[in-house]
Amino acid sequence: MIVLPILVAVSQAVGGGWHAAFHDIRQAGMGTLILHTLAVCVLVTLICGAVGLGTAWWVERTDLPGRRGWRMAMVAPLTVPPFVTSYAWVTVSSAFNGLAGAVVITSCTYFPLVFLMVSASLRGLDPALEESARSLGCSPGRVFRRVVLPQVKPALLGGMLLVGLDALVEFDAFAAVKFQTFSTDVYAQYLTGISVSGAAVLSMVSIVLCIAMLGGEWKLRGGAQYTRVSQGARRPPSLYPLGGSAPGVLAGMGVVVAASLGVPLGTLVYWFTRSSHQGLAAAAAGTRYLVPSTATSVGLAIASAAVGLVLALPIAVAVTSHRGKLVTLLERGSYLSYALPDLVGAIALGYAAAHWARPLYESVFLLVVAYAILFVPLGVVALRATLGQIEPGMEDCARSLGAGRLSSLWRVTLPVARPGIGAAAVLIFAFVIGDLSTTQVLLPPGMYTLSTQFWSNSSTVAFAAAAPYAAVLIGLALIATYVLMSRFGRVRTLEAG
């Protein structure tokens, strides 16, 4: 089911004939596209890796004042829709067009993925390891390099992989800053109606790049498995005093928050206050769509989160409880669907439905399935962070007491993993709320969501009218963040009750 969109896209690409496909690629200005795509992917991945790792370290392992608040602030940008962020940046300055804008905006949106995974991993580290290293004569800096970094490496690389894939297929943000990559070109091909197969061919390139990234991560990880995050670490990790560097760190964190949250929120306020009376009147008139579009968005997101969980759970369970080539392949396969540009995936699903399941075509059901498939890897990542912490003995005990595989999953694993399952659901929820391109392709006619309303208003430069939608989007996002942060990578333990 997860690879279905890919298969359909492949068949569309091939169906167009290789000759035509080659023509498409040449026309698209292959060299520029490759350069752009690679540049943005590499830069964004590196920046997010550095920012995510640094902020996670400061928030989790130093005596930074107000750590709880910072933790929320570091995750919140993830749930702010990228198209809101990018519009905000473009309004701030037209200098943020092209590569610079694309890199800044994408980094601002996705560094929290790295933060989330690394901070969960940092929290679970056994302080005894660092203390041992200190007593062996390592300075804090060396401890970080030689002990901490190797342990959080899998989490760091996993987060960076997701960021890279996001940058690869990002469309919403890049369109606003007029930056061309494979995924925006896919969209152009689709809009100008040149050919569906042209879009499909381009997305094949994107999949090849994705496979390269998966391979790169695999190699860097050096075959090291994701460690169980909390292996009997009963004591909370010790905090390092920041001392004289505190103001500098606070300033750095402030810059990150200002860029990722301040700009979108500030711009919203600006749009409200600086709009003409006419604009405000139009905005007021438009708000009657606010409630129904909120209801649609929330309903779709809840349904997708549910379906996404159902898809992600078996993968996450298989990956955490078994280790083998087949399971790894399955997990990696789920990333492929992430690397298929949303639009192509959506078109492929629409195509499949139109041909083989006519009643589903242009149905809400299809849209929900599309979302679920698209965001499965996020669910898998969040679930793994939690399931990996469940003591294996627990499931063994359940089985020796007569519960079968499914029954012990239902009666023990899932209840114990409940906080983390909540986090996975919220993550999918937030991404669905903020999604634009899949929504635009598959939303049944006559329906509208917060993101489509924002888009149609902002593209007619009716920023004041767009602002309320963005405000609701961000409001929902902040709620989602709160839930996400309090639950990500957690299980119910004897200590916590």
Partner: protein, 364 residues
Amino acid sequence: MTADLTCAGIHKYYGSRPVLTGIDLSVPAGTLTAILGASGSGKTTLLRVIAGFEEPDAGRVTVGTSCVADASPAGASRPVFVPPEKRGIGYVAQEGALFPHISVGGNVGFGLERAVRRSGSRIDEALELVGLGSGFASRRPHQLSGGEQRRVALARALAPRPSLIVLDEPFSGLDAGLRSETRAAVSAALEATGTTGLLVTHDQAEAMSMGREVAVLRSGRLVQTAAPETVYRRPVDLEVARFVGDAVVLSGIAATGSVECALGKLPIVEEYKLVGPVSVMIRPEQIVLAGNGSPGAISARVVGNEFFGPHQRVSLSVGGAPDQVVARLAGHGRYPVGSNVAIEVHGPVCVYPVLATRSPAPPG
């Protein structure tokens, strides 16, 4: 209810690395056998094969009359493998592994039929078996002490009345007092229900005090399975001798029934029939202070002393012998380094072939 356990020719590989090699073990119904092994010896793997969490690559596991795993059954093409939930074997995991999301009663009742669970009487019974009152049923697992958690884990495993129960280092991580208390509770509960037990441990004292039989596992092989006294007094080889307790090893020349060594002419344990150069194994507590005018007394000089309270380990040098002798003497005496004492050996000693090079050929 109770049933015996038989393992025959169990082999298990992780990749190409053998973890268990030809394990033959039988535990008589209603008794407890302790598997004693160092870490990495494969003891937990053996337990997991029996409980059904791992499939053996060769061999057969039988509980009572039913075969639960057989890698190559006669007259059948597919291996027999009963999944753990169908085996009815109780399992107590290393740290207890209580389910954190349900109450103690919910934990203990987990393996019971719904109707039985509802009535609650079996839950109370099981809790009482391990020495906890029925008042515990409503508590949450995190409100329990470490020892109580282990008892609840045992009650949970016993509640469905398994005929066999396997325990994986059930006392690890408990302090000494709690350990012996919990140990007694486990022994009492198993005895009261007549449940056959298999306990895995790396603790010699635990294995010998709890097991009717002790099975010593080394590098995936069972090297000796016998009553605790036998394993301690007549270990099958020097390595087992050193593993199950302190050992003084001297070189000597054996003749029929006795051996000549630095501590004089000593009688040999009957089972050992070796002649010529041998390694002599003596337990430190066999070496005692010689009484006045004792004919076998030997003079020795104290070269070291470790004080433990009730006893002390006194290192001695005897004559010109290169080997050091360690005696386990009562704690109240004073044996300063440099002083001379007269010692003698009580009881028969064990003799083993001299291991010039580490040849794999085992004795007998």
